[in-house]
Amino acid sequence: MKSSRFDYLVFVAGLLVLWQLVYWAVGADVLSSPFATIARALELLQTEAFWVHAKATTSAFAIASVISIAGGIVIGLWLGLRRFAGDVASPILGSLYSIPKITLYPLILLIFGLGISAKIAFGVIHGIFPVAIFTMNAVRNVAPVYHRTAHIMRLSPVQSAATIMTPAALPEILAGIRVGIALTLLGTLIGELFASTSGIGFALVRAMGIHAVTDILALTLLIFVFAASLNASLHLVERWVRHGG
């Protein structure tokens, strides 16, 4: 759609202009200009140090994502398929989701110490809940008429689950995974803030410590681009599945 691509460009351009204006207003102690930030970001991408940090973060993030997604789906499926368990657990899950995870940070640090397992734990406690909640709701919200259709067609429980329930619930499960991954990334970065001497989160903390404004913004920009692309690709997968692939 040509008009929408043009719109995106105008929007991005508008944001950059706004950024530049704010930069002129507040000065170099607070912000760096878009140009300087982007230049620094590109520079960082070519340094080895950056990629060392990026790899540390990505490996922790990947492991945490796998645990969040697998764990979340298993929990969500179990609670979704068993009505009573789901009814009991639903408000508990909702509360756990909205508790500020910062209240758990001291506990996690004390349990896991410093290092990659703490980072992964941070990531998982952020990401597992939305996956579980979305999955549970996806299963519970499968249209009753689909259950009746499976019944009248005399499908076995396995056939019904595999050929009707799963595709019906899949779009919403994927939405949960999308949210879960974004939060897992955030959690991993926060973990690096407190519990690590490597990773992008650590690099950020170091930059914050010496008030290297351009570095802070450049790293944040890179994180944002990474997160946004991940999000957009998952969105595409979700749309593809909704139409049956």
Partner: protein, 274 residues
């Protein structure tokens, strides 16, 4: 009403849903005595909440009766759906992740039918329902009436001997309903299936059926069964027949009081069910 058993035979059938957490039991249906002959077009009309859909569940073998016997082809219905029964529901049951062709092929594939046979049957069903041009479309791109046709095609392709329809045209406008009614008659004639239709529309019941059963308010029992004596070749233009008005009047005469009664019960019932 009670006599030689038909293809479907209900004797003293009652359905009670047990109450939970302090709520009283819900006596949804019965006692019902009913015989439906092979190849008959039988319609059930009744006020909202009278148990029509529960009756359909019983006929399909999806619900076990609390009392009485329900027989299909001289074998008792015990809570598993027997072979040879198909159903179309009121809500849209088309699978949004499959296109029309795959939707219709769904049931056949589950039975492990060879691909050539599946193709043959699906193409035939699509042609029969006028869906050939839409084979690649997804349900989200179709209107409500088209989606119901997909569901009907998906059911017909399995060549059921009994076709159960639970207010299948509920979401459609009147003109489309009348045309779909004609289509249903055509399907009935050309497949020779037994059709049991549930509807709240009296004119639809009067024009389509061989017999119409009028149900009371909950717990639903048959308070009248009207025989229309229409010829097999009928279509929606039967409305101009002299007897059409009399039949509809008789249905409404029996139904009016039950409808008033059920309006009072319905609100309470919905709260309990919800």
């Amino acid at each position: 009403m009670v006599g030689e058993a038909g293809q479907i035979s209900l004797r003293g059938v009652t359905k009670v849903f047990p109450g939970h957490e302090g709520h009283p039991d819900v006596h949804a249906l019965g006692p019902i005595d009913l015989d439906i002959a092979r190849g008959e077009f039988f319609t059930v009309v009744g006020p909202s909440g009278c148990g029509k859909s529960t009756l359909l569940d019983v006929l399909a073998g999806m619900a076990r009766v609390t009392a009485g016997t329900a027989m299909f082809e001289d074998k008792p219905l015990t809570g598993t759906v027997p072979n040879g029964i198909g159903a179309v529901f009121q809500q849209d049951a088309s699978f949004f992740w499959l296109n029309v062709w795959d939707n219709v092929a769904f049931g056949l594939r589950r039975r492990g039918m060879p691909r050539a046979e599946v193709e043959r049957r699906v193409d035939k069903a699509l042609a029969f329902m006028g869906l050939t041009g839409f084979a690649k479309a997804y349900p989200a791109q179709l209107s409500g009436g088209m989606r119901q046709r997909v569901c009907i095609a998906r059911t017909l392709v399995l060549e059921p001997e009994v076709l159960l329809l639970d207010e299948p045209f509920g979401a459609l406008d009147q003109q489309t309903r009348l045309l779909m009614g004609d289509e249903l008659l055509r399907i009935w004639r050309e497949t020779g299936a037994t059709v049991v239709l549930i509807t709240h529309a009296l004119d639809e019941a009067a024009m389509l059926s061989d017999r119409v059963g009028v149900m009371s308010a909950r717990p639903g029992r048959f308070i009248d069964i009207v025989t229309t004596e229409w010829p097999r070749t009928r279509d929606s233009r039967i409305v101009s027949d002299r007897r059409f008005g009399a039949i509809t009047a008789r249905l409404w005469d029996k139904l009016r009081d039950e409808s008033i009664r059920s309006l009072a019960v319905a609100g309470l019932a919905r709260a309990e069910e919800g």
